[in-house]
């Protein structure tokens, strides 16, 4: 029976290919979107988790979060270190980490911060030691791999965050003292040093430009302050205070990312609706295909009855054909979806230094698969209804 079902499908390749293609398309779209959304939100969640609040210069709160936590946008500006630390002394604050940017090396951001930043992301060294002095850096695992830096190597940074910055700080080379283990978080993409390095690079620059000799500690600026609270209520209270009473702004990463996902959600939903529409068409195509098959092969089915096959065996035959189609479409569609993710990953890797990972079928995907198979089986039931009242004698003698 299985062999016959297979043979029947093969003998009508055009119909089979059409049904499988439609299924394949809808399933690959659906799984692609599902995977992209899941992985993106997982990625974002993982990276914002260590911090409850970002304090930075006024501007778009989303931009502040994107730049200071996820390291993909430009910073909103600088804030005074002293003012930021004042906020940090609030008893509700559990931990705080200042970050400062300014430069990049071959597109990888150089982040001035404290070693606590590494601790917050559970980043540990594979080799070497942490930075102690200015111009000592530890590099994220992806950075090490991509630009092939090793411990002891030196490099000079380019001004700004864009890769091909014209201005370079040739006077102050950085030296790599350590390489971090892969974490799967943004830190893999960063070059991390202490705040002093960032200040000194630009002090030097300022000297050139403005001939300012002295820089007092109070004048020191940072890009933002990342804050972890003792309890989540603190974030709400303190952020209101900061936004209303200071020249700085406070942004809550969790809230901003939720907002971002909502925006993206609309896009995801549109693609999802399209894939559902295609799925419906695929289901309909399979259904019509089966009806046609049953009608065209009425005599063959009657013949099988004279061979002693039961009605249920005939229905099984139709079912097997439907199952074959839906399984083939689903499995191929799933693979196509994964290939899509892979291409998408190459694209985002180049753009944001973020890559998607290959994953085995998730529960949601298995759920889609179950729905597809149920739908095709339903189509098979409807298509084989006529088999119940198949008049064998009449069909076989009306040759």
């Amino acid at each position: 029976m299985l062999y016959l079902a297979y043979k029947n499908l093969i003998s009508k390749p055009l119909n089979t290919v059409l049904s499988v293609l439609l299924l394949l398309l809808s399933i690959s779209l659906a799984t692609l979107v599902l995977q992209a959304r899941d992985q993106l939100s997982q990625h974002l969640e993982k990276n914002i988790k260590p911090f409850d609040m970002v304090i930075g210069a006024k501007g778009s709160p989303l931009q502040l979060v994107l730049s200071s936590v996820l390291h993909i946008d430009n910073p909103t500006g600088n804030i005074s270190l002293e003012e930021a630390l004042k906020i940090g002394r609030n008893p509700m604050v559990k931990e705080m980490v200042p970050v400062s940017y300014g430069d990049n090396y071959k597109g990888h951001r150089i982040l001035g911060t404290s070693t606590e930043y590494l601790a917050k992301y559970n980043a540990t060294l594979t080799d070497g030691k942490l930075f102690e002095k200015a111009f000592e850096v530890v590099i994220g695992n992806d950075v090490a791999k991509k630009i092939n830096l090793q411990i002891g190597d030196t490099f000079t940074s380019a001004h700004g965050l864009a890769e091909n910055g014209l201005e370079t700080h040739d006077e102050n080379p950085f030296v790599v003292t350590g390489i971090l283990k892969p974490t799967g978080k943004v830190i893999d993409q960063l070059i991390i040093t202490n705040l002093k390095s960032i200040w000194e690079v630009h002090e030097h620059n300022d000297e050139h430009d403005h001939h300012e000799e002295e820089h007092e500690e109070e004048d020191k600026e940072i890009t933002s302050l990342l804050v972890k609270f003792r309890n989540p209520l603190g974030a709400l209270q303190l952020s209101r205070f900061i936004n209303e009473k200071t020249t700085m702004q406070a942004a809550l990463p969790k809230f901003e990312i939720e907002r971002l996902m909502e925006f993206l959600g609309i896009g995801f939903q549109v693609i999802n609706s399209i894939s559902i529409a295609i799925l419906l068409v695929a289901g309909l195509s399979i259904f019509l295909n089966l009806i046609k098959t049953v009608r065209e092969r009425k005599q063959e089915l009657a013949l099988l009855r004279t061979y002693g096959a039961t009605k249920y065996e005939l229905i099984k035959l139709v079912f097997l054909e439907a199952l074959f189609l839906s399984l083939l479409g689903s499995v191929l569609g799933w693979f196509l979806g994964r290939i899509g993710i892979w291409f998408f990953s190459i694209f985002t890797e180049g753009l944001y230094g973020y890559h998607f990972v290959f994953s085995f079928p998730t529960n949601k995907e298995l759920f889609i698969l179950a729905i597809v198979i149920l739908t095709t089986l339903l189509a098979a039931i409807l298509a084989s209804l006529s088999l119940f009242k198949l008049n064998v004698s009449k069909t076989i003698s009306n040759a």
């Binding site: 063959e300 002693g308 039961t310 004698s393």
Partner: protein, 210 residues
């Protein structure tokens, strides 16, 4: 052994027409020719014997089994094992090759597959060269011989042939009749042929006229 007793059949949509069939009594390995003008119910009688139609009244006995007393499941099983049907115009499964069609029939009979018998049968019917061809690639004569093969492959107790020669030329007609007779002998079965083909009459002694 086939025996029918006062068979009567009415088609649902033509309530007025009721077919009354004379009783048939064939002993072991006895063959019979059922003759009669078209529309008299020859095919109906054949389908009644095969259990494809249920008679209004009367019974069909094959061997010691009363076909009407079988449940649906038993009837399917009985038909699979003991009935072989040959149609006027062959019915085949188009997506399968000649050999696969035979294997399908054999499998459905739920009897042990007999490779030797299959090979011999194909040879005897001169189908060896085309055994891996699809049915639509066969000639009319080859198709009719395949039809015979499908009717006898599983060694049924009863071989029912419905106008097996009407589309064939004289040479093929002769061949088909002798093959049918021979196979019925090998299978030790009753051969029942319905026909209005004059060429067939002289080959069989036992005529039942409707």
């Amino acid at each position: 052994m086939i025996r029918t007793t006062s068979l009567r059949y009415t088609y649902q949509n033509t309530k007025t027409d009721t077919f009354y069939f004379p009783d048939i009594d064939l002993s072991f390995e006895q063959n019979a020719l059922i003759l009669g003008p078209s529309g008299i119910g020859k095919t109906t009688l054949l389908h009644l014997i095969a259990g494809l139609l249920i008679p209004k009244s009367g019974n069909v006995f094959i061997g010691n089994t009363c076909v009407q007393e079988l449940t649906r499941g038993q009837l399917n099983n009985f038909r699979a094992k003991h009935i072989g049907m040959i149609f006027q115009r062959g019915h085949f499964i188009k997506s399968l090759t000649l050999l696969e069609n035979l294997t399908m029939r054999e499998k459905l009979s739920k009897k042990r597959t007999d490779q030797h018998r299959k090979k011999q049968l194909i040879e005897e019917l001169e189908l060896t060269e085309v055994r891996n061809k699809k049915v639509h690639e066969l000639s009319e004569g080859q198709r009719q011989r395949l039809s015979i093969a499908l009717g006898v492959i599983h060694k049924p107790k009863v071989i029912l042939a419905d106008e097996p020669t009407s589309n064939l030329d004289d040479a093929n007609c002769e061949k088909v009749i002798s093959l049918l007779k021979k196979e019925a002998q090998i299978c030790k079965s009753n051969l029942v042929i319905i026909t209005h083909d004059q060429r067939v009459k002289s080959h069989f002694g036992n005529h039942i006229i409707l």
